[in-house]
């Protein structure tokens, strides 16, 4: 029996109280004003636009480039991630690299890469590929770790590493790797859409300008087009079409616009821009320039990283409890246990809308409607994450084995399903905590003063050294939350529960062969 460390014993109840308290304490510090003069009128114009989409506004090439950036980014990130995953449990360096890569949001990567590769396809593809490499590495490593090792354990002694992998490890998990990669392709489509908001020529580029001019009919058409792309993903993204799509994407990439020569940009970026200002004038050997560097770093930490991190956490904590509350409200509405077949259809519809509406775009739109404050960001984060968790809980509720005389309606909800699913609920919420935090930081680009605000300001003033230091701050904050979340999940004994959206639709390894479901791992005894 391991004793809990420095904190009192953690239960579902005390963990919930802790998060509720953090969220409530954050509320007075958050700017929740609605500053738009006529939010109602603007909202009616939006609805009118949605009801009369203007499909002639769709730029075919922006659709093509949205898909090509996503496909190439996922292929590159997936390949690199697979290689890293193989050494994940052996190398601390690789684990740290993967964590650092994924702790920086693809929008930040894009803003940075633009300094080197300009507004080019390389920026779009790498901005997806780099953070996705980190995510793929971690998830693939988890899949390998959880895989059935029994066939591997009886391979002849001295079988080579590569043969061992190709025969007894890879085929066991191939189905799961495939399902997850295709799911990530969908995430990458959302990411490339959002990259358009910072200037890359994807659907998001046009969406942003239509939203800005309040041309909602045109924006709605683009959005519907994107929904169709996501909704039909299973038809066009299959294991055998992905290589073809990748090759076709290479030929269809847009021309780079401006930015000058990449090599001279790289030289300038690493030789000048990213080196902290106090160290630039070749003063690396002087104590005083290091002293100046120290006060430079301290000033940025105190004036930007500190306040930015506090604001990011305020947003994330409020959004987290709002998402949790919404999920608990929504899940009975998408469950057959409560609404029968209707619940099933509602769930599917909600999932499609949520999965194809990037949070960033939602926050952008709500900011347009409601005026600048933290409220639109909270609503966007709560809607997106609350709906995903609600959907997943609804599916879990459908699968619960209830007794024949189980209560109905509110009693079923309060006494049966919610208590039973509460651990699973906390597992989902704790897992999404880090994702919410990453998004909260990014929303700074929209004008809320989270960390992203300072990063965006620094980059637009070409203070790349400052931006780099700020990104280190973002990475440390999101890795800390990730570590804390994993610690909580371990102490609440929630580690074994599924947390990823893809796991719900994904391949169930036990399904592929009935007789294998009970195959015990052949453990090597410790003599």
């Amino acid at each position: 029996m391991r004793k809990a460390g420095f904190l009192p014993r953690l239960t579902y109840g005390s963990a919930t109280q802790m998060f509720l308290l953090a969220g409530i304490v954050a509320v007075p510090f958050a700017d929740l004003a609605i500053s738009a003069v006529h939010p109602g009128a603007e909202f009616r114009r939006l609805l009118t636009g949605i009801l009369s989409p203007s499909f002639s506004a769709i730029e075919l090439w922006s659709v093509v480039w949205t898909v090509s950036f996503a496909v190439l980014g996922v292929v590159a990130g997936g390949t690199a991630g697979l290689v890293l995953a193989l050494f994940f449990d052996r190398s601390r360096f690789i684990r740290l690299t993967a964590a650092a890569l994924r702790s920086v949001h693809e929008l930040f990567w894009a803003l940075f890469l633009m300094q080197i590769t300009g507004l080019s396809p390389a920026t779009g593809v790498l901005a997806i590929a780099l953070p996705y490499t980190g995510t793929f590495a971690k998830v693939f490593a988890e899949i390998f770790e959880e895989a059935d090792r029994s066939a591997e354990s009886v391979l002849p002694h001295r079988t080579g590493t590569l043969s061992r992998f190709a025969f007894a490890r890879f085929p066991v998990v191939a189905q799961q790797l495939k399902t997850y990669s295709l799911y990530r392709l969908e995430c990458a489509m959302r990411s490339t859409l959002v990259l358009g908001f910072v200037g890359l020529p994807t659907i998001g580029f046009h969406l942003e300008s239509y939203f800005k001019q309040a041309h909602y009919a045109e924006a709605a058409a683009l959005l519907f087009c994107f929904y169709v792309l996501i909704g039909t993903r299973r038809l066009w993204a299959r294991p055998w079409t992905v290589p073809l799509l990748a090759i076709a994407s290479l030929f269809m990439l847009p021309e780079a616009t401006g930015g000058g020569s990449t090599w001279s940009n790289i030289a300038r970026f690493f030789g000048h821009d990213i080196i902290p200002t106090p160290l630039r004038s070749g003063g690396l050997w002087h104590g005083e320039s290091w002293g100046a560097f120290g006060s430079w770093a301290w000033r940025i930490t105190v004036q930007q990283i500190g306040p930015g991190a506090v604001e990011t956490l305020i947003l994330a904590q409020i959004a987290l409890i709002a998402a949790g509350a919404l999920a608990l409200l929504l899940y009975p509405m998408v469950s057959r246990r409560f609404l029968g077949q209707l619940g099933h259809y509602l769930g599917r519809a909600m999932l499609v809308v949520v999965r194809s509406t990037p949070e960033y775009m939602l926050a952008y739109l709500l900011l347009q409607l409601m005026g600048p404050s933290m409220l639109p960001a909270i609503i966007a984060l709560a809607l997106h994450n609350g709906a995903i968790i609600g959907y997943l809980l609804g599916r879990q509720a459908d699968q619960l084995a209830l007794r024949v005389d189980a209560p109905k309606g509110a009693n079923l909800y309060l006494y049966q399903t919610t208590p039973t699913l509460y651990g699973q609920f906390l597992a989902y919420l704790l897992y999404r905590w880090e994702l919410i935090l990453r998004e909260s930081a990014i929303f700074g680009i929209l004008g809320i003063k989270t960390l992203g605000y300072y990063v965006d300001a620094a980059i637009s003033e070409l203070r790349i050294d400052t931006a780099a230091l700020l990104l280190v701050g973002v990475a440390v904050l999101s890795m800390s939350v990730d570590a804390f979340s994993r610690n909580l999940r371990r102490r609440l004994r929630l580690e074994g529960l599924p947390v990823r959206l893809s796991a719900d639709q994904g391949a169930n390894p036990a399904r592929s062969g009935g007789a294998f479901a009970g195959a015990a791992h052949a453990q090597q005894p410790v003599a």
Partner: protein, 222 residues
């Protein structure tokens, strides 16, 4: 002369929970040995312990057939010989099996009566067919010692007898964990009885009888 297998006062367990206590066992090359005992007596642990000590000389037939569900029967059996070829050859065999390897795999599959399933997916086989695939893999492996953990438990009596016979022909030393007392007495010349992780009986089969062993299995179906 050194025996094929020597264990001297070996204890073993999983995650700190002891399963085997002070096991002393010596098996000569060519012997046919059955390890019997109730479930939970430590039979599998004993086999796994032997396997981990003699990885160069032993082939294991684990209790759960331990096949790769997504690969064909051919590939699963071929895995028994991965250490005999170069990595490049193995990778080629994964995509395009060489005729010589197919012939070798068919030979062992014929011995267990499964040759018509050569390119069927292992995950689509019945439990008995999976077990015979696992046996064929150990036969292709061809190490002198075969360690079978209930190697015929999923087969009917006639099939089981046949499979035990071909295994005996193929491997020099045979150690089978078994729960069927009659089959153990019939196929093995020496019986080791485990109870609570200790050897409580180690005698030649001809000195034993079904009736004498039965009381040790009280409450279990025979």
């Amino acid at each position: 002369m050194a025996g094929a297998i020597t264990l001297d006062k070996v204890s073993a367990g999983y995650q700190g929970v002891p399963v085997l206590h002070d096991i002393t066992l010596s098996v000569k090359p060519g012997e046919r040995l059955a390890i019997i005992g109730r479930s939970g007596a430590g039979k599998s642990t004993l086999l796994n312990t032997i396997y981990s000590r003699y990885p160069e000389r032993a082939a294991l037939i684990p209790q759960a057939s331990a096949l790769v569900a997504n690969l064909s029967v051919f590939h699963n059996v071929f895995m028994g010989s991965l250490d005999r070829h170069s990595t490049l050859y193995n990778l080629r065999a994964l995509v395009w099996p060489p005729a010589a390897e197919i012939a070798a795999v068919v030979r062992v599959l014929e011995a267990v009566g499964l040759e018509e399933k050569l390119f069927a997916k292992a995950g689509e086989l019945s439990g008995g067919q999976q077990q015979r695939t696992s046996v064929a893999r150990a036969m292709l492996n061809g190490r002198p010692i075969v360690l079978g953990d209930e190697p015929v438990a999923a087969l009917d009596r006639v099939q089981g007898d046949a499979v035990l016979r071909v295994l005996s022909e193929r491997h020099e030393t045979k150690i089978f964990a078994m729960h069927d007392i009659r089959q153990a007495l019939e196929h093995c010349e020496r019986i080791v009885l485990l109870e609570g992780g200790r050897i409580i009986l180690d005698e030649p089969s001809r000195q034993l009888s079904y009736e004498r062993l039965l009381p040790h299995f009280e409450g279990e179906l025979q």
